[in-house]
């Protein structure tokens, strides 16, 4: 049957996680490229192997896990939540409660990662189910603001619960990414120190990158799989028409609670991993801006698709860096003062206090935005632009490109 695309001879093949050869090959290539990044083997993306880019990519991997969670709740089950940061915080503080140093000034039991990481997800899921009844009662935009309330209430608790969180503006260190069998055992795996694998030097950050990427892949498989199960279909039916779903025998209440639980589980894991990776986190980190970031990820990537969540995370997490480099480049070009590009750049950049320009290189002096402010404005404009011009998100663009090549050269 090779060579006959989209011909399926069994339901298993039709419903497979990766139902075409192209998808399988693409995924394989993508993973291969990811693995080589820290070793700077592929020209063109070598810069991604630098430590700071690896940090960004690792953060992306962690955010991808969180984004899957929100995507299940919002994309599959149709429940919009602005409370993702709250559940991430629950995960992070569960992790530090169980995994933090024992006997110190702050709460901590000193347990190993194989306890605190799953627990972070489970406790967040439990709390998600516990607040579920309130959330299930309200719908639509009301739900959004109820979950917004969770973030503010959470922030109040974290700011005041000093013995657990370290206190407002102080924070505490989170358990590192080390795998050990029991409290005081020597670590079997340690992502905080470099080591040599098969004769190749692997830095600490590269190890974190591998761990997080592996976890992200694992969770993406779970998320993708969920879509084709009974539960996933029930979620989608609730999203599309809740009353119709109920008539068809889908228990709306139970499935909404389940959606909250699963979503919070992902959020909790992502929160614990993020805190562990950053090492020190202050309670103010779990704020509305973090929730908003996840909403932006889901919408920009494309609602309800795993690929979309990955694309969206890449976009939102990497965008500030890219915009920053762009403005720095603009600035350098304008200062250089040579050639056409410079002249164009100079329109945007004010190089002296009385020069005209959208951006002022003298921070805080003279008219024009500072480079940091331009970053923010571009970030905002890109979010707006995406939603106005491509409501399906990056996934929509991807679909369009794919369909174009499917029909090529016969475009109509």
């Amino acid at each position: 049957m090779r060579g006959r695309p989209l011909l399926y001879t069994s339901y298993e093949a039709d419903q497979a996680l990766l139902n075409t050869t192209t998808k399988r090959v693409m995924l394989g290539l993508f993973l291969l490229v990811l693995v080589t990044i820290p070793f700077q083997l592929i020209p063109g993306i070598k810069f991604m192997g630098q430590e700071d880019w690896l940090r960004l990519l690792t953060t992306t991997a962690i955010f991808v896990i969180g984004a899957f969670g929100l995507n299940i709740l919002t994309g599959l089950a149709g429940q919009v939540s602005l409370g993702h940061a709250f559940f991430m915080a629950i995960g992070a503080y569960t992790a530090v409660w169980l995994g933090g140093p024992e006997g110190g000034p702050l709460i901590g039991l000193g347990l190993p990662i194989w306890i605190w990481l799953p627990a972070a997800g489970l406790v967040a899921a439990l709390i998600g189910v516990a607040v579920g009844p309130t959330a299930v009662r309200v719908r639509g935009l009301y739900l959004a603001i109820v979950t917004l309330g969770l973030v503010f209430i959470g922030e109040y608790v974290w700011r005041n619960w000093n013995s657990l969180t370290g206190g407002a503006q102080v924070g505490r260190d989170f358990p590192p990414l080390q795998f050990r069998w029991w409290k005081e055992d020597p670590p079997v795996f340690d992502a905080t120190t470099p080591s040599t694998w098969f004769g190749v030097e692997v830095s600490a950050i590269a190890k974190s990158f591998f761990v997080m990427t592996l976890l992200a892949v694992l969770f993406s498989l779970l998320a993708k799989n969920l879509q084709r199960t009974r539960v996933g279909r029930a979620f989608m039916s609730i999203r599309d028409r809740d009353i119709a779903a109920e008539i068809m025998g889908v228990n709306e209440f139970a499935y909404k609670l389940l959606a909250f639980g699963i979503s919070s589980f992902y959020a909790g894991i992502a929160g614990a991993l993020l805190a562990s990776f950053v090492t020190r986190v202050i309670p103010e980190r779990w704020d509305l801006a973090l929730s908003v970031q996840f909403i932006a990820i889901v919408l920009i990537g494309g609602v309800g698709t795993v690929t979309g969540a990955v694309l969206g995370t890449g976009f939102v997490v990497l965008l500030p860096r890219v915009v920053q480099n762009f403005t720095l480049w603009l600035q350098a070009t304008a200062v250089e003062g040579k050639g056409v590009l410079s002249a164009i750049a100079d329109v945007f950049v004010a190089t002296t206090p009385d020069d005209f320009g959208l951006v002022n290189t003298f921070a805080g002096v003279g008219p024009g935005l500072s480079v940091a402010q331009l970053n923010l404005v571009l970030y905002g404009l890109l979010i707006i632009g995406f939603l106005i011009f491509e409501p399906l998100g990056l996934y929509g663009i991807w679909l369009r490109i794919r369909n174009y090549w499917k029909g090529w050269p016969f475009t109509y």
Binding site: T74, V80, T134, R137, V138, R139, G140, L141, Y142, A144, I145, V146, L148, G149, F152, I153, Y156, R159, N160, A168, R241, D242, I243, A244, I247, L288, V292, I295, A296, L299, G364, G368, L369, S370, Q373, L376, V377, Y379, G380, L381, L382, I383, I384, L387, I388, P391
Partner: protein, 324 residues
């Protein structure tokens, strides 16, 4: 005493705790009510959940500061009027400019989104919030900008309660604006707005200029946000004026919107005052060490959750009709 410190006789008045709490709560509630009203009007007419309301608040307050103390326009040409009238003229000019900004934002960023999913539109407003807030912050600059309210710290002291002119004016202005808006909704334009809120397409088919209604809603919303920003940026809230953090107040007003019901203007005002009084009450009566710092700040959200458990669409909100 070398550097000439004036040590006055200590006289701390002890007003009636409950009355003072009510005054504090109602006056802060007025700010919430103004924010919530603007929010609800925009939501009602255009079905946009406006997360950029904070940015509009900051922008409005900044414009008031710019027109009253920097440009002094048109106050500087009205020297024949008393000082308070000059100031008021500048404030009104600033608020009209703020309203125009609101119209412009709707026209550029939200008109193309008509018909898209409500949540996509809401996230567009989050993007607008980032853009407008950043640019406003650049305009505000590094120093807080005072708004130069002519009454300063003055107020009335009735011995059993103390109330500043700011607070009296806030409450009066809020009530007057509420009445004006209620009346406005009975006018021809107001009815067009209600019709649009009910069903955009049908309204259009009836010959209502839906675009104009959208512009109008955003103008009113931005105007009200500006008034809220003004009252939030003067004594007794922020004696130093508008600064880069002014915009964050809008998030405190969300519970007011929800308690009242997303689409009820009266509800917004009731919700605003309810949240204000609840916060003040928590501040006055819940002084326990264990509660830590900032408990009154979340009372609004707790109240909101309780209300929603009983009435899922707020006190005055219209329940969504669910059909297959």
């Amino acid at each position: 005493m070398t550097s000439g410190v004036l040590v006055l006789a200590q006289e701390t008045l002890v007003p009636n705790e409950f009355a003072q709490m009510l005054v504090d709560g109602i006056s802060f509630g007025a700010i919430y009510a103004l924010l919530a009203m603007g929010f609800v009007i925009i939501f009602k007419a255009t079905s946009v959940l406006n997360f950029a309301h904070g940015a509009l608040t900051g922008l409005g307050a900044f414009l008031v500061a710019a027109f009253t103390t920097v440009l002094v326009f048109p106050g500087r040409y009205l020297t024949f009027l008393p000082e308070w009238a000059q100031w008021t003229a500048s404030v009104l000019t600033a608020l009209v400019v703020a309203a125009l900004f609101g119209v412009l934002l709707e026209r550029i960023f939200l008109r193309p989104m008509v018909g898209e999913a409500l949540f996509a539109v809401a996230i567009v407003t989050l993007g607008i919030d980032i853009v407008v807030r950043t640019i406003t912050n650049d305009w505000i600059g590094t120093q807080p900008r005072p708004l130069g309210a002519p009454w300063g710290l003055d107020g009335v002291d009735l011995r059993w309660v103390r109330i500043s002119w700011s607070e009296i004016i806030q409450i009066i202005v809020t009530v007057v604006l509420l009445v004006l808006i209620m009346v406005f909704f009975r006018t021809r334009t107001g009815i067009a707005m209600r019709a649009t809120a009910f069903d955009q397409e049908t309204a259009r088919a009836q010959g209502i200029n839906v675009g104009r209604v959208f512009s109008m809603a955003w103008a009113i919303g931005a105007f009200l946000a500006g008034v809220a920003g003004l009252f939030y940026s003067i004594y007794p809230r922020r004696a130093t004026g508008v600064d880069q953090s002014t915009a964050f107040i809008a998030f405190r007003a969300f519970p007011a919107v929800i308690i009242g019901g997303l689409d009820s203007i009266l509800g917004a005002v009731v919700g605003g005052f309810a949240v204000g009084v609840a916060e003040a009450a928590a501040n006055t009566y819940l002084q326990f060490e264990a509660l830590g710092s900032g408990f009154p700040g979340i009372v609004g959200y707790l109240l909101m959750m309780i209300v929603l458990l009983i009435r899922p669409y707020g006190l005055y909100g219209t329940p969504e009709v669910r059909r297959v």
